[in-house]
Symmetry: C2
Subunit: 477 residues, 2 copies
């Protein structure tokens, strides 16, 4: 929590920059004595809370929040063969309670299908119980053997939102998939984070799903970060866990299901997408402090200025803004440095000249300065925050669009992948994808791409030349 000065590593070395910002901007402490487990600093946790409050408010339109146990008995966990196969290397097992071995081993949930669906089997009786749409925000666990990284690859995912819905049939579940994708799009728009949606190839879908739609963001170095998934589960799990209902004609039918997850990678995306060489750049929608007021004390008018600052603070707070005044006895420049590092969207300065001219000097986090009249300050400040949000979204969109490159040869693909996501055509055969991935050290992210910067069309497969469709290729975190 001690403040450090000196320049941050350049964004061009993204990993170094990210690790340093996470630390200096009080997001997480990486010194916890277990690999892959991190401690949230209060500032980071406040950012986390505002972000999940936003996500909850979107979900609460048609879902209800609930909470299921962390521990899943091995007997339930092992029921869905495909699912367990997908997770068996990653599950933490509790084997002892006190000094005694347990009769049945307990898994720490890596995700909660096998905890929730046995209960859904009890809860779903009739078509009148459907659709059922619940979600929870929980800690989940993966025994990651790869390189771990705060918010991105953790052994304890501290903030996993998982939604689990049940429907009368496949089509209704499919509508829900679209609904959840819309919800995720709205969420990320509020965070100013542009996304690309695509359908993961079959070998990369969620274990036990009919198909997986994934949401990717692009990092400063052109690598992708998967920041959300929506899975159409069909009736795989409802078959295994016997989730059936009586339809209008009195017949027993198998239900169809979806699940949808967003983890604290959404915070990683906020940090990585918007940040700059001065530190965090937070969207006002989730910034723990939206406005910082800096009194500029020169000469003898200190008291007068502090009274004006207090009045301004309470006015802005009354308008629902999250405001702090930094009245510490230090140079304004050092204060600017501190609040810029922490990404505060708007700084408001109030000094003698502003007092005399009934004005306020505002600087947003992108460095754009505006002088506003003191009268109706709350209204002007809100407008400036909205404008700042548009500016960071524009900047992020520009970054994304300039890092999408369409290629037709493996050579060009390889070259472009150094700093970009690459758009190719692909015939749909796994053999061709395998070959492309091997030749370019990348992943075929998906098809059916939804992005205003990518045309989803037909073309010859980049490997075999047969008829193909648009596909995304990238290197992923």
């Amino acid at each position: 929590m001690a403040e450090e000065t000196g320049a941050l590593p350049s964004r061009s070395d993204f990993s170094a920059w990210y690790n340093e910002v996470i630390r200096r901007a009080d997001i997480m402490d990486v010194r916890y004595p277990v690999k892959g487990l991190y401690v949230w600093y209060p500032f980071g946790f406040a950012l986390r809370n505002h972000t999940y409050t936003l996500l909850r408010s979107l979900l609460n339109r048609d879902h209800e929040e609930t909470l299921f146990p962390l521990l899943i008995p091995e007997t339930e966990f092992m029921k869905e063969a495909e699912h367990i196969k997908g997770f068996e290397d990653e599950v933490y097992w509790v084997t002892h309670g006190g000094l005694s071995p347990l009769d049945v081993k307990l898994a720490l949930r890596p995700t909660s299908e096998t905890a929730i669906y046995p209960m859904y089997a009890l809860w779903v009786r009739s078509h009148a119980d459907l659709p059922l749409k619940l979600y929870q925000v929980v800690n989940t666990f993966r025994y990651e053997t790869k390189h771990t990284r705060p918010l991105i690859r953790l052994r304890e995912i501290t903030s996993f939102m998982e939604s689990h819905t049940v429907h009368t049939d496949w089509d209704d579940a499919n509508k829900q998939v679209e609904y959840e994708l819309g919800l995720a799009s709205e969420f990320y728009r509020e965070l100013g984070v542009p996304i690309i949606i695509s359908r993961r190839p079959d070998w990369d879908k969620f274990p036990g799903a009919d198909f997986t739609m994934a949401i990717d963001a692009v990092m400063p170095d052109g690598r992708t970060l998967q920041i959300g998934t929506v899975h159409h589960l069909g009736d795989h799990f409802s078959t295994t866990y016997n989730i059936t209902y009586e339809d209008v004609n009195g017949e027993q039918k198998l239900a169809s299901q979806t699940c949808f997850g967003i983890s604290e990678r959404c915070i990683a995306a906020i940090i990585a997408v918007h940040g700059d060489d001065k530190g965090l750049v937070l969207p006002a929608t989730v910034a723990p402090t939206q406005v910082v007021i800096i009194p500029i004390i020169v000469g003898k008018r200190g008291e007068e200025i502090m009274a004006a600052v207090e009045k301004l603070e309470s006015e802005l707070k009354a308008a629902g803004l999250r405001v702090k005044t930094d009245a510490r006895d230090m140079r304004p420049g050092a204060k600017y440095y501190h609040w810029e590092l922490h990404g505060v969207p708007l700084r408001v300065e109030l000094g003698p000249r502003d007092l005399d001219n009934s004005q306020l000097v505002c600087a947003n986090r992108l460095g754009i300065k505006t002088t506003i009249p003191r009268e109706n300050a709350a209204e002007s400040v809100k407008r400036l925050l909205d404008e700042a949000h548009d500016q960071i979204l524009d900047k992020a969109e520009e970054h994304l669009s300039s890092h999408l490159k369409t290629v037709t040869t493996v050579e060009a693909c390889n070259e472009m992948l150094e700093e970009n996501i690459v758009v190719v055509h692909w015939c749909g055969e796994k053999a061709c994808a395998d070959k492309l991935e091997e030749l370019t050290n990348s992943s075929l992210l998906g098809t059916g791409v939804r992005s205003k910067y990518v045309v989803d069309d037909d073309g010859p497969c980049i490997i075999c030349g047969k008829a193909g469709k648009t596909a995304l290729v990238g290197r992923s975190y």
Copy 2:
């Protein structure tokens, strides 16, 4: 989630009543396939969220929220000898990650001292860093071998608020103990739950504490439920984990610490203390629905009434109230039953006569009916909710005061313990407490009792007759 009718078990059989209310009022499902782990229904979880939002708002006055990992390495966990001895029978151990045994076993936190304090040792450097006051709301785990019960004795405590503070010296930490007790008292006053505070005897204090202050509520059957604890940790843990700071004179000093916990037993207290033979009785401060509007449709004025109901609902919502309209096509009586079972503090009826007379008929959950003018309805409704809160608090206070019995003989103690908490005098010797506990099948809860119904004074020990002090004796959940 299916509604059931028929009378609840009588409150005189508290256990039966409690289990049935938990189920029928959609608080928790006990059918999860692991003993001692339960599933929150959405309604119960909404109650949980409002309750913890209240608790957080009180804590946020001078604490900051944070989040530490669930998993604690055995090496850290084992450092504080007294502490581990207190928990060794209750800790769940993770021994495997995927298919491989772990090098260092990981404990699921039963409480977080051993996770947090190694980090505090890194964070606390100077007197300027103190006091440090953080809290988290997390799931914790105890391998309970006793009879488990939803919200009261669980293997996964899903909602444990734990505060951990660090101070320059013992006295400052002691002030914090008093502050936390005041905070807990305010919290329970907002829940309408009367409490008794006492200092636990030395053999019953938190493992590693200088002393433990406990907060008890009294259940309908006169048994006690511990619903909060504040521990003065002195420098036990700061010695073990090396939490030191440089004082104003540049000398290294050991810090002094406190911790403070409130679990989901606070929800159990709400349910148990206020409930009646019709079901839950919720305080408006945390009720997921504070007001339910029931349209009374008779004759041909259905549309007119529904329009008036909609207008009323939006008016009440605009005033910040949590309101639902129950427009289902069923008898009003069945609706009353449903909302009474779920503890909604106020029911507002709106029928043709009310429309004609510009009035609303209100019934609070204790059955008290009031007719209010339609004009300024929100204001009247808020007043009725405040009155209802006073009424449930009064009722609960009366229950508590009438279940506190002062005795001077072991025989009387035994008799009174059947339905009460008992006030005795005790000399302070463990031998006398052991004897009393054995003869009465009870626990000596504590001394230094703080309650307006108990006089803390001197008197002869109930066992040995020597000079003693007031002590509480009870049977506990």
